[in-house]
Amino acid sequence: MATATAQTTGKPPQRELERRMLRQMLLIRRFEEKAAEAYALGKIGGFCHLYIGQEAVAVGSLAALRDDDYVISSYREHGQALARGMPATAIMAELFGKATGCSKGKGGSMHLFDAAKRFMGGHGIVGGHIPLAAGLGFAIRYRGEDGLCICYFGEAAVNIGAFHETLNMASVYKLPVIFCCENNRYGMGTAFERVAAVTDVVEHACSYDMAAELVNGMDVLAVYEATRRAADRARKTGGGHPTLLEVRTYRFMGHSMSDPLHGVYRTKEEVEEQRKRDPIAQLAGKLKDEGALSDAGLDALDAEVRAEVEEAVRFADQSPDPEPAELTAHVLAD
């Protein structure tokens, strides 16, 4: 019955949706674990920020959006890229700096792009991409379309001026943007409460007369439902409205591959406690409890995504480096 109700409101059948989300979260988890291995082997250089622990945010939110909606994110964007449906092969190849990467090996881990999928990048300056999201929303509104842009950023970006300038203008201009703050509690090694006077990010929406919602980021279905509500507000005919979502999540790894998992800024016990809220385990547990997934079924799904990740690594390994001529290509457009 639930399925029938869901179908009448335009949602995919609930079980299908849940299984798809479980698969995507598992894919991200296995992809990131493999990226960590490849980083340790020196196959990935520079900064590499993993998404482990936060999978429910990208997966739940993007499941609620259309393929023609814009997506833009920070440098911790492997999860959103995968959830948007960018091929794991092209993403891994980009991490490896290869010519077959989604940014031709010129962007790396922090700058994944796929124009065809309307994935408008990973951006490396904290909060710097937040105005870009409003600009994409502006372009949609300018053309009178009913699309939207979702913008992912961490809670540390809330202390940046760009966040406040953009929320104000998005509200004044009524732009169809979902500002999705992934509050994982730490900006690198600094706890949010140590550097933020207002620690509930949702409260900032009051300053900009904006709709807001606090969401449990370890519950993929809660993220999905909140994003659907935000999307409905954005798409409203005759001018949509932006929404600020504060999605409370937790990063199970260090800030980047070069940073410790715990130590001076958080305890091992805290990380272990948080791991009990693992979003993948929660959804798998729910499906098992409801008789929709067996242990064997989960193992099979896991084997399937592991194979996909293995293939991505193989593809990245075997792909060529960019030609030297690529050095000077694409500085300017024709």
Partner: protein, 327 residues
């Protein structure tokens, strides 16, 4: 040919490009209801409406970034900064977003956007409002930079900038907005990357751009009148890309050069021009190249001190006399 002010030439370029392409829009502080802080956007709100002539809060970083995002989404925004002094607040969006997204996306996402507004000193506005930023912005790969000196070039270069598929910085001048000159009607497009000889000469090349073109032209007159020296005035017009061929061509003929700019001396546009000359015209030089810049100080408020700080025809003449070995 009609005579227009520099301000109205820019207005004409904006109007014509907005009529030509529905994706072109203007965004900035006071551009709409107030008709522009310097009236460059006069009448555009009435003609094109508030979706295309967008008043913004005083939030340079924010609206510059919204412009970049809109360009990523297929529009062609023109972002007006009330002055380039305030654009410094938006440098992250200009440098880290606009200039880099095409490259870091492997060529997938162009950013066709114009950032424009008055640059350099006006009169007695003191240190924070009297700065020339061309050496900052022209340092950045991924940007194009133009600095028109005449109404005709202002129209033609702004039109080129709007049609370009890259971020283009257009440096105008508060002291130039009232300057009058002949401006071709309709389709008048000045290609980016081409310098222009504003006065032909044989004995020394005065290399300049924007407001210093007027300074150099006055100096050339004085050199002709008092020294019997024939100075060529080469207006760079574009600072990135720099028209190296025109620079080398002129210096090869005159064998002497003075570079004039409003900016500070260290790592200035003149330093770049001198590098071009020493590499490509070394054997043609009869004297070291000299530079005339703003004094290496924050701009003082006092009228006399300000005059001392700015490049003047007298300082250009003095430099030209030295390279001509007249001293």
């Amino acid at each position: 040919m009609p005579t227009l002010t520099y301000r109205d030439a820019l207005n004409q370029a904006l109007r014509e490009e907005m009529q030509r392409d529905p994706n072109v829009l203007l965004m900035g502080e006071e551009v709409g209801v107030y008709q522009g802080a310097y009236k460059v956007s006069r009448g555009l709100l009435e003609e094109f409406g508030s979706m295309r002539v967008v008043d913004t809060p005083i939030a340079e970083l924010g609206f510059a970034g919204i412009g970049v995002g809109a360009a990523m989404g297929g529009l062609r925004p023109v972002i007006e900064f009330m002055t380039w002094n305030f654009a410094v607040l938006a440098l992250d969006q200009i440098v880290n977003s606009a200039a880099k997204i095409l490259y870091e996306s492997g060529g997938q996402i162009p950013v066709p956007i114009v950032f424009r507004g008055p640059n350099g000193a006006a009169l007695q506005l003191a240190a924070q409002h009297s700065q020339a930023w061309e050496s900052w912005v022209s340092h950045i790969p991924g940007l194009k930079v133009v600095a028109p000196a005449t109404p005709a070039d202002a129209k033609g270069l702004l039109k080129s900038a709007i049609r370009d598929n890259n971020p283009v910085i257009v440096l105008e001048g508060e002291m130039l907005y009232n300057v009058k000159g002949e401006v071709p009607e309709g389709e008048h497009v000045v290609p980016i990357g081409r310098a222009d000889i504003k006065r032909a000469g044989r004995d020394v090349t005065l290399i300049c751009h924007s407001k210093t073109v007027t300074v150099a032209l006055k100096a050339a007159e004085q050199l002709a009148e008092h020294e019997g020296a024939s100075a060529e005035v080469l207006d760079l017009r574009s600072l990135r890309p720099l028209d190296e061929e025109a620079i080398v061509g002129s210096v090869t003929r005159t064998n002497r050069a003075v570079v004039v700019e409003e900016g500070w001396p260290q790592a200035g546009i003149g330093a770049q021009v001198v590098d071009v000359i020493q590499r490509e015209a070394f054997d043609h030089l009869d004297a070291p190249v000299l530079r005339v810049t703003q004094a290496d100080v924050p701009m003082p408020y006092n009228r006399q001190l300000e005059r001392l700080a700015k490049p003047s025809p007298e300082r250009v003449v003095a430099a030209a006399r030295r390279v001509l070995y007249l001293d």
